[in-house]
């Protein structure tokens, strides 16, 4: 089942939570153009709710770094730069490396089975050339490892970091992926988890993140800016449908 949220938000049915989830989904799947201004009233209109839950959801995303706020109090999708990618790379290597190490010490047999299953699904999607499923499964694989670490605060921090890098992971496809030694690394990671070898698990995780984000950093132009991966759903007009509303990709 394709759950995107991983924290224990459990049964929060509040509108605010739904708005938060919608915006999060729209951000990670790249339905907002970086630099795009996103107004409260626009989001409220698209989702068919009032300003109140939108404000709270968007403020939270600002606090998490998924949106940023100009001094002149307007909310924008952050632009990605080489420096920011490199900063996120180093932070993620630390935290996700730590999570992998903890997972090696704490993972149960069934958790390891789940991780192994996700790894196989990556291969399947990749052999089919299905990039979207591939990315989804990569996410599931990683978070299966992090969940096995059993550290809730750590998990929440990592989710926040994925929210910031998410829109740019499309850039890994297809060039980086095809030349990648990802499957072998994941295999070594799984074996380390099973053997309880924390140091190896950490090293494999760090290597995976280093290679991917270093590649993305290399895509920066001469000003250090990184263009986002443009999704396919531009143009089409949609009317505000309550829950599963979709955002336009408008470049201003």
């Amino acid at each position: 089942m394709p759950r995107t949220a991983t924290t224990l938000d459990a049964a929060d049915t509040s509108l605010r939570q739904q708005v938060y989830a919608s915006l999060r989904e729209a951000l990670t799947s790249g339905r907002f153009a970086p630099g795009q201004k996103v107004t409260f009233r626009y989001v409220a209109g698209v989702l068919g709710v009032s300003l109140t839950p939108v404000r709270e959801a968007m403020r939270r995303l600002v606090a998490e770094g998924a949106f940023e706020m100009n001094p002149n109090r307007s909310v924008r999708v952050p632009l990605m730069t080489r420096d920011k990618v490199l900063e996120l790379r180093d932070i993620r290597m630390e935290l996700e490396g730590l999570a992998a190490a903890k997972a090696a010490l704490a993972a149960t047999r069934s958790q390891i089975a789940g991780i192994r299953h996700a790894a196989r699904e990556i291969i399947v999607a990749r052999n089919r050339g299905d990039g979207a499923t591939d990315r989804q499964k990569v996410r599931e694989f990683h978070f299966a490892v992090y969940a096995a670490a059993g550290q809730p605060t750590l998990l929440r921090l990592i989710e926040g970091l994925w929210l910031q890098t998410g829109p740019y992971m499309n850039l890994l496809y297809p060039d980086f992926i095809s030349s990648s030694r990802g499957p072998a690394g994941r295999q070594r990671l799984i074996e380390a988890l099973q053997a309880g070898d924390a140091a190896t698990a950490r090293r494999e995780m760090e290597n995976d993140i280093r290679r991917a984000l270093s590649y993305v950093a290399g895509l920066a132009d001469e000003n250090g800016n990184i263009a986002p991966a443009i999704p396919v759903t531009a143009g089409k007009r949609r009317r505000p449908s309550a829950s599963a509303a979709v955002f336009e990709l408008q470049v201003n």
Copy 2:
């Protein structure tokens, strides 16, 4: 000057920001009892504002882990446990160690001078037996190092972690402090920063955090719970004064 906020919130004069700052200050100085229920209307009453800015400030603090929310939608101050302290210890060692390493590569001469100054002020406060100033200066010392790393996202993450451990750092006084080798460690850290020795800077920072938080974890009772350091300001009734309002310490 005793600034507590460290991020570039610059000139955000919004009520929401003021409420956020007030609550943050109240939390870090331990004016709320862990487990205490904190209602929106109570905070709004104490600070003399409407619910709107209070809601947004408190939701942000919930997202940051400084408050937690029951499934029955009521906001409480989180209880600290041994497991949580140990998790925070390991995360902080990674991130603050990384920041120290980056600072060793990036700090300017004037930044190092500022760090050295803060270290001296710790000694002064400690010799006077002034615990409150001591803690404040320790905070300034650490964040002077982290600021020198020049990594804004990393800085923001570290601030969030300090917000969670903050109320419990009082527990280090006076026993841990007197038996501590802190000053010598800080001296070695400063020398590593000056020499551009990232590995040593990281190691010293990691050791500092490991020792402090391991000590706090050792204070847990048989159930794994850790009692907060109770501040001195209990009891007295106060009326809502607009900006510098103080919160009661009410234990329910």
